[in-house]
């Protein structure tokens, strides 16, 4: 019996806190089971920065708050057959999208940056400048959910989703048996 080729998985953290990647590791020793079925391509876990092959599954944490996020996300879409958003940031912008609430300003982005770096009550920024290194990607006008930028195939809800849900979703997807989530597993109240 020939061994099935392993599925290739790539992951990226966009405008997220890395908590979802931590949750990915939270599947504990089942990681060993999983590694029998998959190999990781581009991912912070492997420190591979570009796609070496086309991938079966791309996993995205975080939404898009800057141009680089958009660039990476589009790259993932073009190089992955299935794209999965994990966590509320990827699904709807999450915590970073709180800045979208600055709506009644003529310059919401400026107002946001000034509060974050200059005028905020708890800021100790001795330079009194907003960081503007040429290597910093430009911010977007708003924080966007991934599905606003590319088509997403699946979303795993949670902040962060539990290791169990991530493991079960990935393994059933790999087995071609994913039929949606059990209600209790994605209930958070």
């Amino acid at each position: 019996m020939t061994e099935l080729p392993k599925a290739r998985i790539a992951t990226a953290s966009l405008a997220g806190c890395f908590g979802c990647h931590m949750a990915l590791l939270d599947i504990d020793e089942r990681l060993i089971e999983l590694m029998k079925l998959v190999e990781f391509d581009r991912s912070p876990l492997t420190d591979i920065k570009t796609f070496s092959h086309r991938c079966d599954i791309g996993i995205i944490e975080g939404g898009c708050c800057n141009e680089e996020n958009v660039h990476v996300l589009r790259d993932f879409r073009r190089n992955c057959d299935i794209l999965i958003g994990i966590g509320q940031c990827a699904i709807m912008g999450g915590l970073p999208a709180m800045r979208n609430a600055i709506m009644h300003s003529d310059e919401p982005l400026r107002e946001c940056l000034e509060e974050a770096f200059i005028t905020g009550r708890y800021i100790r920024n001795t330079t009194h400048n907003i960081p503007n290194d040429p290597a910093l990607p430009l911010l977007l006008d708003e924080v966007y959910a991934c599905s606003e930028v590319v088509e997403m195939d699946y979303h795993i809800p949670g902040c962060a989703p539990t290791g169990d849900v991530i493991y079960e979703t990935l393994s059933s997807l790999l087995a071609g048996k994913f039929r949606g989530f059990e209600k209790e597993k994605i209930r958070f109240d």
Binding site: P137, L138, L139, L140, D141, S147, E151
Partner: protein
């Protein structure tokens, strides 16, 4: 806030506020009347005034503030001595609202939502004021102005600036005119077709007299047998509603007439209140006898304040003639009187629970049902809430008999109905027709044959396209509280939908999150379609979110608010699909990176190393 002694003494600096409260016996249930009177007197309700009201009525200040902040016609900031409210419904927009706004703004030197520095003028928008057949229309304090043009606006402002009162714009002899004459000078009747029941000749109090020969139970049987269904929109059997109220054990019962007429495009109650006020009160009196109520309320929308005196005069006249008050028509134990309750600019107050809250002096929020008003309504007592037209029908049914009424219309929809037709047609106005006519037939009468779309039942109703104009105006096919809004080929369906969603956003009472927030999202999503930024998934999103709002809202407002979207998705699918941008390589063509980074480019004063090709050149 803790009220100190000095603040209490300050209350005595507000003798008028104390006086106003005393006029209403310091009764917290009359809060809306008290606050309306303060608003009229001071052009706003100040924090100090609220404290005085709280003290007089024994409520907390926050409770008073809760009511004062709920209604559009009450304000905590001082409004101009002359407040001009322009109807900004889509009908008025299509009738030239933009030019009217420009004329007011340039003549008054203020923008919309502003008050002139000398405190003379305020300029505001307000949703449909029930003058859709004579748009563009506006309220200037309590005066209604219709058929506005930029020239008229210039003349109006000049005269107001020269010191004339808004009333003088109607007639220099305004004070000498009767209430009916005043109403007629302000507003056209526009009765285009009189039917057999309401708008044709109507004998005086024949129904009331006939009801004296019947027992209360027989009256209810008659009304039920006539097939009369509520004309306010929901279409509940009037007779059954009365029976429930009559069967509930209670010390007091109430009859409330719903004259809130807030559904955009509806103005048939305006015509009945002007032309048939006696018939309405007669109907209420019959209802009172049937269910054993001694007290009644007419809840008149704030926008119809120009009809207040007319109705007060009718009530006074009937009291004098023994048709209202104790021992009506000399009958022992037949006691019934009515008070007029003015609203203050809130669409949701037409919903019967909210209307009752409003009459009780509370913010106009719907109540959780059950219990229904027929068992626990006004002040907790069994209450019948009926629409103006329903009650007028009752009086005629008692006169002519249930068979006569039942014989008109169609199976399940008996009798006649008033339709208020407006928009793109030659003969806007009110048509009384038996149920069962097709939309096409009504359009022909109204001179709207060219219509591309017709909104039946207002924004909470159904928008239909030419291919289904043969649909029937009945409860089983196209139900309507009366609104028929006609749109020609030139009109942009998505613009209409977006406006109506903004209406619901504005009018949601805010109690249910899906209605308060969901409608904002729906409106934004429609905006995306209009800008060509929608993708296929947005159509699903509209459907899903609409379903959630409908399922999880507490009152009819939320349950019907997605209808402009759902009915156009159903009947004008191409309007949406034509605006959808397909994805390329599964990346969204609707996401525009260039516009998303343009603010940051400007702020950082540099270009993008990813998306600007000439970067580094």
């Amino acid at each position: 806030m803790h009220v100190t002694d000095t603040q209490l003494t300050q209350a005595s600096n507000w003798p008028d506020v104390v006086g106003i409260c005393e006029t209403y016996a310091n009764d917290p249930h009359r809060m809306l009347d008290i606050l309306r009177a303060i608003q009229d007197r001071y052009r706003h309700i100040s924090q100090e005034a609220m404290e005085v009201v709280a003290r007089q009525t024994g409520l907390s200040k926050i409770a008073v503030e809760g009511v004062a902040s709920f209604y559009a016609f009450l304000s905590s900031d001082p409004k101009g001595r002359i407040t001009i409210r322009l109807c900004d419904d889509i009908v008025d927009r299509f009738a030239g609202l933009t030019e009217i706004v420009e004329a007011f703004e340039s003549e008054l030197g203020i923008r919309m939502d502003e008050t002139s520095p000398d405190g003379t003028f305020s300029l505001e928008y307000t949703p449909c004021i029930g003058m859709c057949d004579q748009a563009p229309a506006a309220m200037v304090n309590d005066v209604i102005l219709t058929h506005l043009t930029p020239e008229k606006v210039r003349e109006i402002v000049a005269r107001l600036k020269s010191g004339e009162r808004p009333e003088d714009l109607i007639s220099h002899r305004f004070d000498e005119l009767s209430p009916r004459e005043r109403a007629d000078r302000m507003v056209d009747g526009n009765i285009r077709h009189a039917g057999a029941v309401l708008l044709g000749p109507v004998p005086e109090d024949a129904g009331l007299k006939a009801s004296l020969n019947l027992t209360p139970a027989q009256i209810i049987d008659t009304v039920e047998a006539s097939g009369l269904r509520g004309c306010g929109g929901a279409g509940f059997s009037a007779g059954r509603k009365w029976r429930f109220a009559a069967e509930t054990d209670a010390e007091r019962r109430f009859i409330i007439c719903n004259a809130d007429e807030g559904e955009p495009g509806t103005f048939k109650d305006r015509v009945l209140l002007t032309e048939r006020p006696h018939l309405l009160v007669e109907g209420m009196t019959i209802a009172a006898r049937a269910v054993g109520a001694r007290e009644g309320i007419i809840y008149l929308r704030g926008e119809y304040v120009y009809l207040r005196e007319l109705i007060e005069e009718v009530l006074a006249d009937r009291r004098e003639r023994g048709l209202l008050g104790d021992r009506i028509l000399g009958e022992d134990g037949f006691d019934f009187d009515i008070r007029l309750q003015m609203g203050a600019g809130a669409y949701v107050c037409g919903e019967e629970g909210a209307l009752i809250s409003s009459c009780e002096g509370l913010p106009g929020e719907p109540k959780t049902r059950p219990p229904y008003p027929v068992t626990r309504g006004y002040l907790g007592f069994p209450t019948v809430v009926n629409n103006v037209e329903t009650l007028c029908h009752v009086a005629r049914i008692l006169d002519r008999g249930s068979k006569w009424f039942f014989g008109m219309g169609t199976e399940g929809s008996h009798g006649t109905k008033l339709f208020s037709v407006s928009g793109d047609c030659r003969n806007p106005g009110v048509y009384e027709l038996p149920y069962g006519h097709s939309v096409a037939e009504l359009l022909e009468m109204a001179g709207g044959e060219e219509a591309a779309a017709v909104l039946v039942g207002g924004p909470s109703g159904t928008m239909i396209a030419r291919d289904t104009f043969d649909r029937k105006l009945t409860f089983d096919d196209l139900a309507t509280g009366g609104a028929i809004v006609v749109f020609s080929r030139e009109r942009n369906i998505l613009e209409i939908v977006e406006y109506y969603m903004s209406f619901f956003v504005h009018e949601s009472c805010g109690y249910c999150t899906p209605c308060r927030v969901g409608n904002v999202f729906l409106q934004k999503a429609v905006g995306k379609f209009r800008k060509g930024l929608a993708n296929q998934a947005d159509i699903e999103y509209l459907r899903d979110l609409s379903a959630t709002i409908i399922e999880t809202s507490r009152c009819g407002l939320g349950m019907t608010s997605p209808n402009p979207i759902l009915s156009t998705l159903e009947n004008f699918p191409l309007v949406y699909s034509a605006m959808v941008k397909p994805s390329k390589d599964r990346t969204r063509a609707t996401f525009d990176i260039q516009s998303a980074i343009s603010d940051a480019r400007h702020l950082a004063k540099r270009r993008s190393y990813i998306f600007d090709r000439d970067f580094g050149e």
